[in-house]
Amino acid sequence: MRLNFCMTTKVKYYVMTLLLFGLGSIYAQSITIKGTVTGDGIPLPGVNVIVKGTTNGTTTDFDGNYNIKANANDILEFSFIGFKTKDILVNDRNVINVSLETDLSELDEVIVVGYGTQRKKEVTGAVAQVKAEELLQTPVSDIGAAIQGKVAGVNIQAASGRPGEAANVQIRGVVSINGGGPLYVVDNIPQDGNPNIAPEQIESIDILKDGASASVYGVRAAGGVILITTKKGKAGKMKVDLNTYTGIQNITSGTPLMNTTEQLYNLEVTTEQLGTEPLTFFFNPNALDFDSDFVGDVQQDNALIQNIDLNISGGAEGLTFNFNTNYFKQDGVLLNSGFDRLTNRITGQFTKGKFKAFATMALTTENRSQEPFALYEYGIGQTPWSRPLSDIPSVGENSFELDVDNEIFYGFLSRQLENVDDREVKSNNIALNLEYEILEGLKYKLNIGRNEWNFFRKFFQPQYLAFSRTGVYNATASTPNARLQESYIFNKRETIEHILSYQKSLGKHNFNLLGVASYERQTNRNIGVAVQFGDDASNDIQVLSAGAEGIRPTGTNFRRTLTGKLARLQYNYDGKYLLSASVRHDGSSLFTEENRYGTFPGFSAGWNVHEENWFNVGAISSLKIRGSWAELGFQGIGGYPAIAVINAGVNYPLGTEEDLNFGLIQRQYVNEGIQWETQVSKNIGIDIALFNNKLNITADLYENNKQDMLIDQPLPRSTGTAQPRAIGEFNTVLVNAGDMTNKGIEISAAYKGQIGSDFKFDLSGTFTKNINEVTNLNGIERGFANGRPVTSRGQNTEFTTFLAVGHEAGAFFLFQNDGVIKTQEELDEYNQLDLASVSTPQLGDMRYKDVNNDGKIDDNDRAYSGSGQPEFEAGLNLNLNYKNWDLAVQSYLSYGAEVYNGAKLYAYSGGRHRDLINMWSPQNPNSDIPTFRQNAFHSNVRAASDFFLEDGTYLRIRTLSIGYTIPNTKEDIGIDKIRVYLNSLNPFTFTNYTGYDPEVGGDGLFFRGVDAGSYPVTRQFMLGAQLSF
C-alpha cells in the first residue's frame, strides 16, 4: 500500500512538472518548490530544507517529500544527520529532487547518547562507539570479550575462561566497593546486568563513559552506561548474511606438579624430618605402577567451539525488519563443562505519517554444564601413584573399586565427575518504542519493555558406591543414595517510560528538550527442591518423582521498584557552541522512605573550534574541546537491605523423643539509614581529526569521586554473625561509609591509510591509565578483607585483598616473607618475636617480617603488596586489506597488575608442587623453598603470604585473523560475497606469570588478580566463512 502510494505521488509530480513546463510561465518571485529527498535510494524523512541565508525552512515528510517557497535565484540547503549537506540553486525550477550522499566523516556519525541520538560533532560527553564490524573481529560469545582493548577507559578482563561466562567490564575503574558494573540498555530498555546478547545481533554499542552523559540514567549510572542497539533492517533489497566458524581451544599452561618418583622422594624427605617414614607402599603396594596426571585427565584439550549465524533483513519504505538467529556452542576445556546458546531476535520498524513504531523481540535459550566444584584443585591434590580416573574398575551396579591410598579424597574427584550439573536459562526480551509527533518538533514516545529471565538448574549426584581394593565398602567415599536438586529462579523486569521531546531551531540556536518519566519493577522468585533416592534407585531416572525422601525445600521472593524523572536540554549555537544540561530524580524501593529519593544533575559543554572563522590550520580537519560535570548514583545492592528480619531455620530438638522445636532469631544486623552512593564525575576531552580526517585522536582526562559508598562492612566476628558454611551471609552490614576516587587518562587514536588503490590499512590504538584510590573508610585504615585464593577449602583459607585508605580498592595486603629459616641462629632470632599467631617455627620454615615492629607476628603485619589493577593498559589494532585479502591483528597489554597464584599455593600446601623436590631439608640446607609440613594451613603455606604473589603483566595477541574474499562470485554464482577466514584468539601471550593465565578478572574488585584455580582462559583457532546474498 505504502509503495503504491509512493509511486502514484511520483507519477503525480512527474505529471505536474510536465504541466508546469508546458505552461511555460516564469515567475521571478516566490515560487513553491516541491520535491523528494532520497539517500542511498530511499526517501529520507526529516531532512532540513532551508532557504539559505533566511530562517525560512521546512523538513521532509515521511515519504521524503517537501514543499517550500523560495525565490527563483535562492539557494536551498538540504541537511540531514549522516549525510553530506547539499546546496542547490533553485534556478526557477518548481520540482527539485535531491539525492543526498552519505557522509563518511566521523563527525557526522550518529551516536546514541541515552534517550536520543546526536551527531558525533554535537556530542559533549565522552562517548565511544563500537560498530558491528569491529565487534565481529573477535569471534566470541560475549560482548565484553568482543570489545576488549578497543575502547580506551573500558577495562575488560575475563572473569574466567568458563564457556559462556561474561567478562568483567569496568568503565573508568572500580565502580563500587560493593561490586557492580555498568548499566546495560538494550534498544532503550535498561537491563539487569549483562544481557548476554550475541555480538552478531548488535548494530552498535555506545558507551557513555563520562558522568554527564550517563547521568540521564540517574541512580544506576555510576558505573557508566552501555547502550546496545540491535540490528535493524533497511528498506530495499532483501539481504541474507550467513557466518559460521568452527574451532578448537587449547590450554596453554598449568601448575607444575611432581610425578610419582619425585613425589615419593619428597615424601621420604618430609617424613624423615618427623622421625618417621612414608606409608605409601603400606597403603598402596602398586604405587610404582602408576604415574597419573589427574589435572590432564580432568582437562579436555582441543575442545570444540562452533558458531553459526544467519541474518535476514529487508523491507519496504515504512516497514523494515531484521531477523537474526545465532547458535553458539563451546565445549569446556575442563571436563563436564560446556555452553551453548540459541538466540533469535526479530526487530521491526513501522512508520506511518507521524507515527513510528519499533519493536524488538528476542528469545534466547542458554544451556550450561558446569564442571564439578573445584575440579582443578581436586585434580592437583591427587597423588600421582593413584590409578588414573579412566581406569577405575567397575565392580557392579554403580560400584567402583577405588584402588588408592585415600578413598575419601579420591572419591571427591571420581564421584563428582559422575555428577550432572545442567543449568538452563530461558530469556525473552520485548522492547516496544512508539513515537508520535504531536506538533511539529514535539514528540511523545512510549517505551515499554519486558524482560523475563528464567533459570533452571538440575544437579544430580548419582549413586556411587566406593569399595576399597579389598572389597570393603566405604560409605564416606560414596554417595550411597543418589540426590537430585532442582532450583528455579523466575525473574521478571518491566519498564515503562514516557518521553516527551521537543526540537526547535531559532535561527542558529538549536534546542532539544526532553522530559522522561520512567517506572520499573523487578520481581524475583527463587525455588529450590531436592530429593534423596532409595538404595535401589536407578541412576538413569533423574526426576523428582523417583526420589524416596524429600529434603526441605527453599523459596524466597523479592520485588523492587524504581521510578525516575528526567529533564534535559541540549542546545547548540550554529554547531559551534554545544551545551547539555540534565537533571534526573529517582526513587528506589531499596531504601527507607527518608532516603528513597535522589537527584542527579549533569552538565556538559563543547566547542567545535574548527568551525570558527579564524581557525585555519590546514592539517587539522576538526577540533573539539569538551567538558562535563555530573552527579550520579549507585544502588547495586539486592534484597531488602534496610529491613531487619527474624530468621527461621535455627531449630533444636528437645526431649527424649527428639521433638524438633522451631527457632526464630535475629541473625544479622541491618542499617536502616542506608541510601545510595553518589559519584561526582568530571571530564575534559579533546577530539582532533588530522590530515583530512585520516587520523583521529580522542583524549580524555577524568576524575570520578565516589562518596558514601555502599559497603558491605564485615562486622567483628565477636558480634556473633559469622556463620560457618555461610560466611558473608550474615556478618556484614551495608553502610554508606567510604570515599574513593578514580582519576585517569584515556587516549585513542586511529589512522586510516591507503597505498595505491589495492592496499588499505587501519591502525588504531588505545591507552588507558586509571588511578584508583580509596580515600576514606569511615575511620577504618584497612579492613573489608576478601579474596580467598583457594576454592575448595572454604573459610579457613586466609584473605588476601583489602580496602585500605590510600591504596587501590582490593589491593593485596600480605605477610612479607623473609626467606626460609636455615640455621639455628636464625631460628633463635626469629623466636625472639611473639609468634603465638603463627605456626611454631622449625628449621626450614618460612619466616615473616615484623612489619609494624611490635615484636609480634600477627595480622597487623600485612603490608601493601600491589593489586590486581593494572598501572596502565593499551590496545593496538591493525587491519590490512590487500586486494581480496584481509588481515587483522589485535593486541592487548596489561601492565603492572599483580596476580596471586592460588593454584600454586594449593599445590604447595598439598605437597604436590614440583618446586618441593628442592625444598629445605637438613640435607638441602640452602634451599629457599620452605619445607612441606603436611598441613595445608601451616604458616609456611599461608594464603596471606606474599610468596605466591606474582607479576601479572602480560602482552597478548588477542586476535589474529586472515581472510580471503573470493572474487567475482556475483557474476559466477550470484552470491554477493564469499569470504573465508582463519582466526586465532589469544595465539600468543607474553608473561612471567607461572599459573594458567594472567588474565584474572574475578569479580572485578576483591577477586581481581586472585587466581583461585580459575577456569583457564584458552587459546583458540577457528576456521570460518561468510556469505552474503
Binding site: E277, T561, G663, F937
Partner: protein
C-alpha cells in the same frame, strides 16, 4: 481553531497518561515477604521460646559440641593423629590464627552469645503479662546459662574474649576490647550462673528434657570456681549437686556415649543431636543458610570412627591412654563385670587390636586396621555398637554430654583435695567412678598393697612396673590429673583445659616423649607387636614436635582469630 483544539486535546491526553500512572510513594513501598521483622517479634512467650530454641541450636555447632572438637582432643596427652590429618597442626602445636577450629570455635560461640543476648535483653524489657507462671525468669535463666556456658568455653579456649552482653544498637558497639578470663568470669559468667541457679527448675518434663537446669548451672559454677582455684566455693557447689539426689552414675558407663538412654540420670548438661531429623542434610550443616538447610546431627562419629568403617579416625588414642586403659584392671567381683578382661570403661572408650566383643558387628581379627603404629581407635561417640559402618553424609545422632555426674564427682574430689588436703574423701569419690567402671578402686589397691596404690600413668611397659605410692594430697592429685580424669573423661572436651590450668603440659609431654623414644628403640620387628599394646610397624611420634616446642604463653590458649583482628579496631584498647 480546530487545530488548536486538537493540539490541546492531544497534550492533555498525554499529560494524563504521564502523570496519572500511579502514586509513587505506594509504588516504591516494598515489604520483605520472606521473614518477619523485629518490630512484630518479641511479643509473646511463644516467640521468646522460639528465640531461646535458636540459642540452644548454637550448641550444636561442630566446634562447640560436634566433630570439629577433634582438634582439641589431640592437643593434650590422650591422643595423637597422623601427619596428613588436619588435627596434626594441633598435635604439633603449629596451629595459627587463621586455621579451622581456631576461627570456627570463636565464630560459633559468639553466634550462641548473640542469640542468648537477644533473649536476655528482650525478656528483661518485655511486658511481664505476656508470660505465664514463672516462664519469664525461666527463659531468661536458660539464656543466661547458655551465655555463661559459651563464655566459659570462650574464655578458657582463647584466654579471654570480647565481651558482648547486649544487642548492639550502634556501630560503636560492634567493636569491643579484649577482656581477660577474670573479667569475663566476674562480669558475665558468675552473675549469669547465679541468676540461672536461682531461677531454673531442677528438671523438665519429658518433652523439654535437654533444657538447662539448676543442676547444670550449679555444676558449671562449681567448675568456674574450680578453674579459679576457689576450692571451698567449688566444693560447696559440687556438694550441693551431689546432695540434691537428682543425679547418679549410670550402671553402664556406655550410656554416656551412645544414642540410647540419652538424658539419663548421669547427664547434667547434654547437647541433643538427632540422626533422623532432616534426612539428606549433612552432619556438618547445623542452621539454615541461603544455600542449604540445616540439620540436627553431629559429625563427631565420622571424625573419631575407624577409617575402614566410613570414618576418618583423625583422633588416635595416645599410647599412654591406651596403656592406662589396658591396666584399668577389672575387678571380677564387681557385678558389672561378666568375665570380661577389658574394663567396661575401656571397651566403651577405645578399641585395641585385641578387642573383646564385636566392633561394627565384626569379631576380633576381622576388621582391618591397627597397622603402622595405630595401636587403638576411639570408640567413644562413634556408632560401632549398632551399625556396620558410619552412615553417609557424616551424620550421627549421638548426643554430646558436656557435664556429667562422673565429672562432678571427680571435680569435687579435686576441690576437697586442694581445699583441705582431704585425700580420703577424694579417694572415696574417685572410687565411686572407678567402681562404676568395674575396676579395682584405689581403696582396693591400698587394701591389697599395704596402703599403696599404683601410679598408672607411668608406663609399665617402659618402666617395668607401676610405681606404688602411699596416698597423700600430692599422690592422689597426681592420680586424679594423670589417670582418673584422663581415662574417665577423655574425648569429652576437658583434657587440654585441665592440663593447662594445672600447668603440667610440659611435664606430660616430656614424659610421653621419653616413652615414645623407648618404644621406638624397642619396637618389635617380628610383626606382632609387643604386649600390651601390640604396636606394629612403627611408633607414631605424637610428641616429637610438641615436647620440644611447647611454650605456655603461645600454646595454652588459641590465638585470637585473624578475622577478629581484621575487623575489630578496638581489640587492643
Amino acid at each position: 481553531m480546530k487545530t488548536i483544539q486538537n493540539k490541546i486535546l492531544k497534550l492533555s491526553l498525554l499529560a494524563i497518561l504521564i502523570f496519572s500512572s500511579c502514586s509513587e510513594s505506594t509504588y516504591l513501598e516494598e515489604q520483605n515477604p520472606n521473614a518477619i521483622t523485629p518490630d512484630t517479634f518479641w511479643k509473646s512467650e511463644q516467640q521468646f521460646n522460639a528465640a531461646l530454641i535458636a540459642a540452644y541450636s548454637a550448641l550444636q555447632f561442630q566446634s562447640v559440641s560436634g566433630g570439629l572438637l577433634q582438634h582439641e582432643f589431640v592437643l593434650g596427652d590422650i591422643a595423637g593423629t597422623e601427619s596428613w590429618y588436619r588435627p596434626n597442626a594441633f598435635r604439633n602445636l603449629t596451629f595459627n590464627d587463621g586455621i579451622y577450629h581456631v576461627t570456627n570455635k570463636w565464630d560459633e560461640l559468639y553466634i550462641g552469645i548473640f542469640r542468648a543476648n537477644q533473649v536476655i535483653e528482650y525478656s528483661q524489657e518485655a511486658d511481664p503479662s505476656i508470660f505465664s507462671g514463672n516462664s519469664q525468669k525461666e527463659i531468661e535463666g536458660q539464656a543466661r546459662f547458655l551465655r555463661a556456658f559459651f563464655y566459659f568455653q570462650l574464655a578458657h579456649t582463647y584466654g579471654g574474649g570480647v565481651i558482648h552482653d547486649r544487642v548492639a544498637t550502634s556501630e560503636e558497639e560492634f567493636e569491643k576490647p579484649f577482656s581477660s578470663i577474670d573479667e569475663i568470669t566476674s562480669s558475665i559468667i558468675i552473675p549469669d550462673l547465679e541468676f540461672a541457679m536461682n531461677n531454673l527448675p531442677q528438671s523438665w518434663d519429658a518433652r523439654n528434657v535437654g533444657r538447662a537446669t539448676w543442676g547444670a548451672a550449679t555444676s558449671l559454677l562449681g567448675k568456674v570456681q574450680l578453674f579459679n582455684e576457689n576450692w571451698n566455693e567449688a566444693a560447696l557447689l559440687f556438694k550441693d549437686v551431689i546432695d540434691s539426689g537428682i543425679y547418679s552414675l549410670t550402671t553402664n558407663i556406655e550410656d554416656n556415649f551412645w544414642h540410647t538412654n540419652e538424658f539419663n540420670e548421669e547427664s547434667i548438661f547434654e547437647v541433643n543431636y538427632s540422626f533422623d531429623i532432616a534426612p539428606g542434610v549433612p552432619g556438618a550443616a547445623v542452621d539454615d543458610n541461603s544455600f542449604e538447610s540445616g540439620g540436627e546431627a553431629t559429625t563427631m562419629a565420622t571424625a573419631v570412627g575407624q577409617l575402614n568403617f566410613g570414618a576418618f579416625n583423625t583422633v588416635l588414642p595416645s599410647y599412654n591412654l591406651h596403656e592406662m586403659l589396658v591396666y584399668d584392671e577389672v575387678d571380677p567381683d564387681n557385678p558389672i563385670n561378666d568375665d570380661n578382661l577389658e574394663s567396661r570403661r575401656m571397651s566403651s572408650t577405645i578399641v585395641p587390636s585385641n578387642f573383646e566383643g564385636l566392633y561394627y558387628n565384626l569379631p576380633q581379627g576381622e576388621p582391618r586396621g591397627w597397622g603402622f603404629g595405630q595401636s587403638a581407635y576411639v570408640k567413644k561417640h562413634s556408632n560401632w555398637y549398632h551399625l556396620e559402618a558410619e552412615p553417609p553424609l557424616s551424620k550421627s545422632g549421638i548426643n554430646f554430654r558436656h557435664i556429667r555426674y562422673a565429672d562432678v564427682l571427680l571435680m569435687y574430689a579435686e576441690a576437697v583435695l586442694n581445699a583441705n588436703n582431704d585425700f580420703a574423701t577424694a579417694i572415696q569419690y574417685i572410687d565411686m567412678v572407678r567402681s562404676r567402671a568395674g575396676v579395682y578402686t584405689l581403696q582396693q589397691y591400698m587394701d591389697m598393697n599395704a596402703g599403696m596404690f599404683p601410679q598408672f600413668h607411668v608406663s609399665k611397659q617402659v618402666n617395668g612396673d607401676h610405681p606404688m605410692v602411699t596416698p597423700s594430697k600430692e599422690t592422689v592429685l597426681t592420680h586424679l590429673q594423670r589417670v582418673e580424669r584422663a581415662i574417665e573423661l577423655c574425648f569429652e572436651g576437658h583434657r587440654w583445659k585441665d592440663l593447662v590450668r594445672w600447668g603440667i603440659v610440659q611435664e606430660v609431654f616430656t614424659d610421653l616423649r621419653a616413652d615414645e623414644i623407648w618404644r621406638q628403640n624397642n619396637l618389635d620387628t617380628s610383626g606382632g607387636g609387643l604386649e600390651p599394646l601390640f604396636i606394629v610397624e612403627r611408633i607414631r611420634p605424637d610428641f616429637v614436635i610438641a615436647a620440644e616446642n611447647y611454650n605456655p604463653s603461645q600454646h595454652n590458649y588459641f590465638p585470637i582469630p585473624n578475622g577478629e583482628v581484621q575487623t575489630n579496631g578496638k581489640l587492643n584498647d
